[in-house]
Structure formats: structure tokens, C-alpha cells
């Protein structure tokens, strides 16, 4: 994965987490797999509404829905969360690379300038 794709994925995980309902769903799944019905129980909202939240979490790669016929329990996939909790570690190489480029651009600019000054 390139650094930029990495950044795009992180942004998606951040967006998925920026919602209290979805955070609660994740917290429930942290205790173990659960069906959509079980996940919907504590919420005062329709099953389709809860399903939509689950879909957002699935898209961000945080939730995996099992293939076991009727139940299809949801499971937490914590790997994107590790990326978020290691946020700094992911962004650091992006910034290091940028600052390397700034450094060489600065040297290039200044050597052109000094060449321009000498007759």
C-alpha cells in the first residue's frame, strides 16, 4: 500500500468512528461476536438503521459479517483500529518523506540563487 492510500484508509476509519452509535457497536463486538438483532437491542432505532451503521463499519474494515447461514454474526476486526491508535506511526513516514523533499528543494533553490548572484 502506498503512503497516500494508507492515508485514505485512515481517514475512512476515523470517519466510521466519529459516531457514538458505531462506537457502541464496536464496544459490544469487543466482547464477542453478535447478530445484527443482538446489536440493535440497546438502541432505540430501526433494524435497517442499525444495519446501515454496521455497513459503514464493514466498509471501514472494522466489522466482518460471518457467512454462517441464518445467523451471520458480526465480528470485530481490530486491525484498522490498531492503525488509528498507531496514528502517529502511520503519519510519521509521510511527514518524514515530505520534509526530506522540502530539504532538498530548499538546497536546490539556494544553489540556484547563489549561481545567479555570481557573475
Amino acid at each position: 500500500m502506498t503512503l497516500v492510500e494508507d492515508e485514505a484508509l485512515l481517514s475512512e476509519t476515523f470517519a466510521a468512528l466519529a459516531n457514538p452509535t458505531r462506537r457502541q457497536i464496536l464496544a459490544r463486538l469487543a466482547e464477542g461476536e453478535a447478530s445484527v438483532n443482538e446489536l440493535a437491542e440497546p438502541f432505540d432505532m430501526s433494524l435497517p438503521a442499525v444495519s446501515r451503521h454496521i455497513k459503514v463499519l464493514e466498509r471501514a474494515g472494522l466489522v466482518v459479517q460471518g457467512q454462517r447461514a441464518q445467523f451471520r454474526p458480526c465480528q470485530l476486526d481490530a486491525s484498522p483500529l490498531e492503525a488509528v491508535s498507531e496514528w502517529a506511526e502511520h503519519y510519521r513516514p509521510i511527514w518524514e518523506s515530505r520534509l526530506d523533499q522540502m530539504d532538498s528543494y530548499l538546497q536546490e533553490l539556494q544553489s540556484n540563487q547563489s549561481e545567479g548572484k555570481t557573475k
Binding site: T2, A16, H53, D103
Partner: protein, 163 residues
């Protein structure tokens, strides 16, 4: 969970650049200079518009080649602190090409907040060189939802650490 202010997960990088402080300042505030260095490896910056005044906006397009064609990502933000040759603070969010921050609805969410991060650039002259300290803050302390966020992450991290 730790007491007091939650541990922030910021990127902090220090660099000493062999260049005058005013030139390093321009690296961040002059769009032509900014375009020349900002793209991470493999990305180009076709658009950069920077109004370096407090409350002024930034709009940056990052473009890269992928097997599926050219992919563009747009970022916008607002300058929060502008002290020439010393300190620059701006926010950063993903947006559309017109600079509209992608709303939760557009990202397929009925409610919530888009991710906003904050970049802090501090410059200091040291023996004719410029010391640059870059801080990229993941969740600005005063951003909406920051508290819920930090708590949720703490909780999930505890879970990850024990599983």
C-alpha cells in the same frame, strides 16, 4: 485509562534546515513553493491555494497514479494561528474539489463528524539555520466529538492490549 489529559497521539518531528527562516516560512505559505515539496512520494500537487491569514483557508489537491487511473484527494483547512516566520497552525479535513468538507451524509453516515486534524509548524533560528518543529495532532482538543473519541479509543486499546 490515564488520569488527567488523555495521551494524545501526535506526530512530532524536528528538523534543522540549512536555509533562512523567511524562506522556510514561504515553504508553507507560498503555494508555488508548497506544491514543489508537499506531495509524498508518488503524489503530485496540482492545486494549492493558501490564504495565510487567521481564518483564511487552504485548499490542496493531491494527485496520484493508480492502476485504476488518476486518483485525486482534496484537503481543506483553516488557519488558526499565523505568526510570520514563527508559528503556523491550520486544520485539515478531506473535502470535495470546491472545498466543501465532506459531510457525514456524503460519507454515508447519518450523523457524526468528519475527521479534522491539526498541523502546527514552529520555526526558530539556530546559528543561521532554521529549526522546524512539526506537530500533526490527530484529534484537536476542541474539535467536536474529541472527548467521545478519546474515550472510545482508550477503551478499544485496553481491549486490544488484553486480547
Amino acid at each position: 485509562m490515564t488520569a488527567g489529559t488523555p495521551e494524545t497521539k501526535d506526530v512530532v518531528i524536528e528538523r534543522t534546515l540549512d536555509a533562512p527562516i523567511a524562506l522556510v516560512w514561504q515553504m508553507w505559505t507560498d503555494p508555488e513553493h508548497f506544491k514543489a515539496w508537499y506531495g509524498p512520494m508518488g503524489a503530485a500537487i496540482p492545486v494549492a491555494s493558501i490564504d495565510a491569514t487567521v481564518g483564511g483557508t487552504r485548499l490542496v489537491c493531491m494527485e496520484m497514479q493508480t492502476p485504476d487511473g488518476t486518483m485525486q484527494m482534496w484537503f481543506t483547512g483553516e488557519h488558526r494561528e499565523v505568526v510570520e516566520n514563527q508559528r503556523l497552525v491550520y486544520t485539515e479535513s478531506m473535502c470535495d474539489p470546491e472545498g466543501n468538507i465532506l459531510s457525514p451524509e456524503e460519507m454515508g453516515m447519518p450523523e457524526g463528524h468528519p475527521g479534522i486534524t491539526e498541523v502546527v509548524v514552529e520555526l526558530r533560528e539556530v546559528d543561521g539555520k532554521t529549526k522546524l518543529t512539526l506537530t500533526h495532532v490527530g484529534v484537536p482538543a476542541d474539535s467536536p466529538g474529541a472527548t467521545g473519541w478519546t474515550m472510545a479509543l482508550d477503551k478499544l486499546e485496553t481491549h486490544l492490549a488484553t486480547s
